[in-house]
Structures are given as structure tokens and as C-alpha cells.
């Protein structure tokens, strides 16, 4: 278990791509005030979700994460 410079441990050595995090100054997607791009993707139960259509008039949190599997 190697501890990185931010004080985090992980079951992979430092420098392994699984530990690669966002570098300083990197682009992080749409800014505050910008409109989120629409998209169409399948969900866990096989339905097709069209983001803005299915969201309707609701506020939403769009969470990008690495994997549910590992």
C-alpha cells in the first residue's frame, strides 16, 4: 500500500494509471452557467434515457464516476 502526496492509500503502486487523477488546470467540462450537453444512453435496466427529455423540468445531479466494477 503506497501513500500518495495527498495522504491517500490505495491497493496499487504510485504511478499506476488507476491512481491517475485530474492534473491542475485541466478542462473539467461545462462551466457554471453553461447548458449541459444532451445525450442518450441505456440505464441499468435496459431503458434508453434521453437526458433533458427524461429529466423534464427537474433539477439534476449528473455524476461521472470511474467504475461500479472496480
Amino acid at each position: 500500500m503506497e501513500r500518495d502526496n495527498l495522504g491517500f492509500d490505495a491497493p496499487a503502486p504510485i504511478g499506476h494509471p488507476v491512481r491517475a487523477s485530474m492534473p491542475e488546470g485541466a478542462y473539467s467540462g461545462p462551466a457554471i452557467g453553461e447548458h449541459l450537453p444532451d445525450f442518450e444512453l441505456p440505464d441499468a435496466f435496459g431503458s434508453t434515457i434521453r437526458f433533458h427529455t427524461d429529466r423534464g423540468n427537474s433539477r439534476a445531479a449528473l455524476v461521472f464516476y470511474r467504475s461500479a466494477v472496480w
Binding site: 500500500m1 503506497e2 501513500r3 500518495d4 495527498l6 495522504g7 491517500f8 492509500d9 490505495a10 491497493p11 496499487a12 503502486p13 504510485i14 504511478g15 499506476h16 494509471p17 488507476v18 491512481r19 491517475a20 487523477s21 485530474m22 492534473p23 491542475e24 485541466a26 478542462y27 473539467s28 467540462g29 461545462p30 462551466a31 457554471i32 452557467g33 453553461e34 447548458h35 449541459l36 450537453p37 444532451d38 445525450f39 444512453l41 441505456p42 440505464d43 441499468a44 435496466f45 435496459g46 434515457i49 433533458h52 429529466r55 423540468n57 427537474s58 433539477r59 439534476a60 445531479a61 449528473l62 455524476v63 461521472f64 464516476y65 470511474r66 467504475s67 461500479a68 466494477v69 472496480w70
Partner: protein
Amino acid sequence: MSYDDTKALREFAEAQRINYPLLSDQDSVVIKQYGILNTLVSKDDAFIYGIPYPGVFVCDESGRVVSKFFHDSYKKRESPETLIDAALGHIQIEDDLPQTSGGESGIAITAAIRGGDGSLRQGIIRQLIVRFRLKDGLHLYGAPVPSGLTATKVTILGPNGLHTLPTRYPPTTPLHHKTLGIDLHVWSNEVDIVVPFYPAEDLATEAEVPLQPFASIDFEVCYQACNEDACLLPQTQRFSIELPLDVVDVPGLSIHRGHGQRESDYDSTPAMRRLIWRKIRSNPLRLLKLAWKTSRLKRHAKKHQDKKKTLVE
């Protein structure tokens, strides 16, 4: 949203009892469309290629971004309550949150920990919310203040291993001071000051199960309240809130076993096999390249640790 296939997401949703949509972006098309593909990972990194820089966008009814949360480590993650507060535009302090109170006559202070059950887990960001309720006519100051006045400040003092993100202050309103001839920055009525924090190092690590079940968050609140005519004495009040130390819940892969992590009911081994197969189908050499890179990094780490050990001896 992740690059997992729908079968993996269905199994995960069922095992973890998740009832909000999990979206499958198998070829990372939307991840790339949003511009957040992790480009530090190359195609030679086999099954890892295609992951995003993880983070969250919160949008309003029209689909416009009102908040976003991206960090310099994939380990730093917001609690779901933070996302809800960002969407609703105000912070909810429920009665059952870990909390304490203080203040003085006319100035009530409630300090609460928002996020999950307040438990400390490596990298998971909770929030210390310090809420002031002021009687009519009183105000507090935001920085900068002229010498002689005290700006409102919240500082987390401990425990060791607790890290903070920048404190969030709400916007102030200007108050013109006739005598000094300047505009002061003030808050009246109700104001929430938010200090996001997360544990790291030995306080909450994946390498070991926590030795103690609890840790105390110690913090200090400085403020000075004034009305139109006069100021009360500046105050510094200390508080402490005890929080449970938790373990990180991860998929039941052998790589995770043996560490200070709760083993969930979800065994992701079949999904992992499908992911690896899907990613190396076009170029099987990539898995060998990743295995070689991993072994080289492990050898380097071991050499570095042996060197450290020799120096210490």
C-alpha cells in the same frame, strides 16, 4: 454514469439497492463529449482506458450548471447531501445530524456535520455547517474588515489527518459606515458558513481497519456582532463534535481483500472479466503491457521502501 455495461450496473444496483438511474457509457462517448476523459490513462493501460476524471454537475430546471465538483484526486468525493443542497439552493440541517450549539444572547450558533451519517471515510467529503441566527438589528462581518473589527471565521483545528477544502461564505451585503466613510461587508438574520473536510493519512486509511471507533472534530468560531450604534465584544468559541470512523465499501474483488475495507455483497469478478475482455479484444497485447507496467511500478516501490528501511537502520 460510467463505462460499465448494463449487466454490471444492474447487478450493482440490485446489490446496493440503488433506485436512481445508473447510465452505461460503454464506449465513453458521453465522457468524451463532456471533455472529461482521463487522458493520463493511455490505450495501453488496457481495461482502465475510457474512465473519466470523476466529478459531478448539478443543473437547474433549464439544464444549466449551478454547481460542479471536480477534484485533484479521485479519492475526494462529495456526499450526496451536498449535491441535494446545491440543487435546492439551501442547506438542510436535520435534527438527527451530529451537532452542537453556542453563541450568546441574540446570536444563536448551531454547528452540524452534513453528509451521510457524518462518518469519516478516506477521501469522502463531509461539511461542517456553522449557522448563525441573529436578532434583528445585529450583523456580522465578512473579510476584509478595518483594523479593530473582527471578521467571521471558522477554523477546524483537528484531529490530525483531517484536511479542509476552501471555506464557503455566502455573499455579504454592503453597509456604509458613516464615521469611517467606508463600505463594510455584513451578514444579517441567518448565515451559513461551510467548511468542507475529508480524512486522509492514518486517520482514515484503506490499509487498516480503524483502531478507534470515533474521532473528535475540534473547531473554533470567531466573530463580532454589531448593531447600528455599537459593537459587542469579539468572541472566540471552541466546539467539538464526535464522528464515527467507517471503512470504505468496495466491490468484492481479490485486489481489495485484506485491507481495511468492508466487503460488500456485490462480487464484481464476472463483470471485471467482461470489462477486460471487451477492452483487449482489439489488441490483446495491451493487457500484457499493463501487467508489465504494474510489476515494474511494484518493483520500484519495493526498492524505494527497502532503501528507506536501510537508511533508518
